[in-house]
């Protein structure tokens, strides 16, 4: 470590010296009264060399840029256009009829509103309490920002958008979550994302903590804990579909013994969502686990030894040494899963077909169903809103939560 630091200092000093020398050389040249130099004869070699130097960088990245444009940017623009159109079969092929924002309108205030946002019911006193609490919290958050000395235009706009976004989502949730309401695909997706990630992280961290202990068989269990991640999601979905089948699945005797012979997970919206969440948590906990094992094992042992000598207990060591050490990795891990979780489709599609009703449909499945019905415009509109949601929560996480968590270290 000391050697590395010394090398870095040396490198820095040399670069300063080099810059200093270069500056002095230029000054010297300017000071000198130099005779005009005779023009050099034209040399093809030099021209080609210069051109190659100049173009090389651009040309080397060109294939990648073209590939990215074709694979990412153009489809994004094309799908934006499709989201503003209606697909229609026409002689010899198809045509896309421009319908403006109709596909978006349908999702928010039209025939797809109940499906997308949920079934709204009049607010209950509980709804008002929850919504009021969130509004007050957001107002405090905004006020605190405005009262500090580091207010910027972009920061203010970002926070206003954040406040409006979170306020809107809360409004939607309190009007659909209880009192006879029904969750739409937006809320169901948020449920999968946040509940899923919460349990995946807690379980992943617990298992990682367990397997970094010097316990017998820990290597064996590390492999076992990783297995769910290696199975194809559709395979996992079918497996859980069988497991949750109380009439002919492998656990039928257990269900019968528990007196649950007439029970079905999928008859009830929350039962079906729970089944999907369990499958999702089972599938993705290993990802959290393996990265957290690496993070735990890479933390320096000296502080832990010192704390142990000083008489700190296990919780104090975790809280003050281990947790800060793994926090940056944890934040990145959660961000990756946050982005990934929004795209959940295979589990609800195979396990419940999105049912009962539309209770387990995610946004991706909503888009998929629209696409399957050749409502390409509607499908693209859902996909675009999903993109905005992922970006919104991704930026929220990066700018507020992750940044603050790392700053507090």
């Amino acid at each position: 470590m000391q050697i590395l630091k010394a090398q870095l200092k040396l490198g820095w000093a040399l670069s300063l010296l080099h810059n200093d020398m270069a500056t002095k050389s230029v000054e010297k040249i300017n000071d000198m009264n130099i005779e005009p130099v005779e023009p050099q004869p034209f040399r093809l070699h030099a021209v080609i060399s210069t051109a190659a130097e100049r173009l090389a960088g651009s040309v080397f990245i060109l294939p990648t840029v073209i590939a990215l444009l074709f694979l990412s940017i153009f489809p994004l623009i094309a799908s934006l256009y499709i989201s503003l159109t209606r697909f229609e079969i026409a002689p010899g092929g198809f045509k896309l009829i421009f319908v403006g924002l109709n596909n978006y309108k349908k999702l928010f205030v039209g025939s797809e509103g109940n499906h997308f946002l949920g079934k709204f019911v009049p607010a209950t006193p509980l709804s008002w309490v929850v919504f009021g609490g969130v509004v007050v919290a957001l107002a405090i958050f905004l006020a605190r920002y405005l009262l500090n000395n580091r207010v910027s235009v972009s920061g203010l706009i970002g926070r206003i958008l954040l406040t409006l976004g979170l306020g809107g989502l809360t409004w939607m949730l309190v009007h659909t979550l209880w009192g006879g309401g029904r969750l739409g695909t937006v809320s169901v997706t948020l449920l999968y994302v946040f509940v899923g990630i919460f349990f995946q992280y807690i379980l992943g961290l617990s298992l990682a903590m367990l397997t970094v202990q010097n316990l017998p068989g820990r290597r064996y269990f590390r492999v076992i804990f990783l297995l769910p991640m290696m199975i194809t999601p559709v395979g996992i979905a079918y497996m859980f579909r069988m497991i949750t089948d109380t009439s002919k699945g492998p656990f039928t005797p257990i269900w019968q013994a528990l007196g649950l012979i007439d029970f079905s997970w999928v008859n009830n919206a929350w039962g079906a969502r729970t089944a999907i969440l369990i499958a999702d948590i089972w599938q993705w906990t290993p990802f959290m686990f393996i990265v957290l094992v690496a993070a735990l094992e890479s933390q320096p042992v000296e502080p832990i030894e010192a704390a142990t000598v000083d008489g700190a207990n296990s919780w104090q060591i975790f809280q003050n040494i281990t947790w800060p050490a793994i926090l940056p990795v944890s934040m990145t891990l959660i961000l990756i899963r946050l982005i990934e979780s929004f795209k959940i489709v295979d589990l609800p599609n195979v396990m419940t077909n999105g049912g009962p009703g539309t209770a387990t449909q995610s946004l991706t499945m909503h888009a998929f169903i629209n696409w399957r019905g050749l409502d390409l415009g509607g499908s693209a509109a859902v996909a675009y809103i999903l993109l905005f949601l992922v970006t919104f929560f991704g930026m929220l996480f990066v700018n507020l939560i992750r940044q603050r968590a790392v700053e507090t270290l």
Binding site: P91, T358, G373
Partner: protein, 525 residues
């Protein structure tokens, strides 16, 4: 060092440019491959086993060297006969047959994207004939009339008139039926007799029988069984079951009256007491069914009935032949088949209320019960892609014709595993084929009578055949129905939501055009 560096950069630039130029120049030579590629990209490609007599120029067969790719839904039924008879067809004609399968819910979209995108990876499609109204006007599937007229072996006039008509559009034949579909109710003869119950004539009777037998041990294994098994999973078959129940409440004046839309103004016939009663009946059957029926497809309910676990079920003609298969059935000679139950009350279209049946309101009633059997789906039928080469069109038509010819189809329709049900007049008349397959004479007669009575009913309801029918039925109706079954919507809300969703589609496509189509398909004036 600098020279070598520069040389390396120049060489690298040349390589990069070379790759780019090659890539840009490639399409001209690679284009033909693009049409062949989807064969490997298809979700579940199943190639028919290679024939022992390979198609070579020496054999001199009519389609030597031709390969045809047929897209249909994932088997084993329906695709199985195509796969089994593919090698026989190859031996006869030299054409190699590939059967590519996709999930049923994705079939429409797969066919359409293949055709409209110009991919044309498939030479033929085995799909729902109600879809030809989308594909034929757009010129995506071939007019098969000249083929049919020149094809004596097909024996087109032996095909029941309803199926001939259902596979035609604007007077032209666009698909060849390999299957005839009609919903019927199946019941356990022994269980009903034991309980002193009559086979259900109305949907109220059906609920009564189901309620009485629910929880009884029907197969002698000591476990309680179910009164009714009708699948209710989303994106499966719910949208057909509901119309089988709704039809006798809505249509009573003959098959030109229509059961889906009002022929005056194309408004959906869903926001009325008849359809609401059908919703209630469908939902109530779930009370007497398996606990996870809301997540079951027809394969599950069919399996339960064959295992002797259900007193009643509604299905296409498949149950009849499957019930006599000793390998899979515990209900051999215990299965009765019936024309779909009807209603003693029918919809007054003007008021939206149910009125009792009499000579005026129910002119086709049998013993005071208005039956309106529903030819749901219409049977699997083969259509030919209009964009493939003439030789491929000919070979594809020849294959569908071969499958539909009496020599093959008469053998296929008596086997439950094929998923094909009778569609030829001779198949209803020739009892011998059914008894040879293992039916008792009584069972065969009852089974065929059930289908024939439905087909011959003057009040039969044909499946919806207007443009975007898939969107009306398999997208909007399916979604709202599953929300209703899940308890997310009341009966009134469900009826209103379906009405609104269908109206939105009609408005989008054009009310007048849709009305003209609809009236044309049911023969209304």
């Amino acid at each position: 060092m600098n020279s070598r560096n520069m040389l390396f950069k120049i060489l690298s630039l040349m390589v990069v440019f070379g790759v780019l130029i090659t890539a840009c120049g490639a399409p001209a030579t690679e284009a033909p491959l693009a049409t062949e590629a989807p064969e490997t990209e298809a979700p579940a490609a199943t190639e028919a086993p290679a024939t022992e007599e390979p198609a070579t120029e020496e054999t001199g067969k009519i389609y030597d060297g031709v390969t045809i790719d047929i897209l249909t839904f994932v088997g084993p039924q329906v695709a199985e006969p195509l796969q089994r008879r593919g090698p026989d067809f190859t031996a006869l004609t030299g054409a190699t047959v590939n059967i590519i399968t996709v999930p049923n819910s994705e079939l429409y979209q797969k066919v359409l994207t293949d055709a409209v995108s110009g991919t044309n990876a498939y030479d033929g499609y085995l799909f729902a004939p109600s879809w030809i109204v989308d594909f034929a006007p757009a010129g995506l599937i071939e007019d098969l009339t000249p083929y049919v007229e020149a094809d004596e072996a097909l024996e087109w006039n032996d095909v029941a008139p309803f199926f001939r008509d259902f596979n035609s559009y604007d007077g032209k034949v666009y698909s060849i039926p390999l299957d005839g579909d009609m919903h019927m109710v199946y019941y356990r003869i022994d269980s009903l007799e034991e309980a002193g119950l009559e086979p259900p004539k109305t949907w109220d009777d059906y609920l009564n029988v189901a309620k009485t037998l629910n929880g009884k041990d029907l197969n002698g294994d000591g476990e309680p069984d179910y009164g009714s098994c009708i699948s209710k999973a989303p994106a499966q078959q719910s949208y057909w079951w509901i119309w089988s129940i709704a039809a006798p409440y809505i249509q009573s004046q003959g098959n030109t009256q229509g059961a889906f839309f009002n022929t005056k103004d194309m408004t959906p016939l869903v926001n009325n007491d008849g359809f609401k009663r059908a919703l209630e009946v469908y939902k109530e059957t779930g009370l007497y069914g398996p606990p996870d029926e809301t997540n079951q497809g027809v394969g599950d309910s069919r399996g339960l009935f064959l295992a002797g676990r259900c007193a009643l079920t509604m299905d296409w003609g498949d149950i009849g032949p499957l019930a006599i298969d000793p390998a899979n059935s515990k209900v051999i000679d215990k299965t009765g088949a019936l024309i779909n139950p009807g209603s003693t009350e029918v919809l007054d279209w003007d008021t939206g209320r149910l009125v009792p049946c009499d000579a005026t309101t129910c002119p086709y009633a049998i013993d005071g019960v208005n039956h309106a059997p529903f030819a749901s789906f219409g049977g699997w039928a083969g259509a030919v892609n209009a964009a493939v080469s003439q030789q491929e069109k000919d070979a594809t038509y020849a294959f569908f014709s071969y499958m539909a010819q009496p020599a093959q189809s008469n053998a296929d329709v008596v086997v439950g595993a094929t998923g094909y049900n009778p569609f030829r007049i001779s198949q209803f008349e020739n009892l011998q084929a059914w008894t040879d397959a293992g039916f008792s004479e009584v069972a065969a007669t009852q089974y065929l009578d059930g289908i024939e009575n439905s087909l011959n009913s003057p009040n039969m309801v044909a499946d919806l055949r207007i443009p975007s029918n898939q969107k009306y039925i398999q997208v909007e109706l399916d979604r709202i129905l599953s929300e209703y079954i899940a308890g997310d919507l009341t009966t009134d809300e469900a009826a209103q939501n379906i009405y609104d969703a269908w109206e939105a589609i009609t408005e989008e496509i054009g009310r007048d055009a849709q009305l003209t189509f609809y009236k044309g398909t049911i023969g209304a004036k």
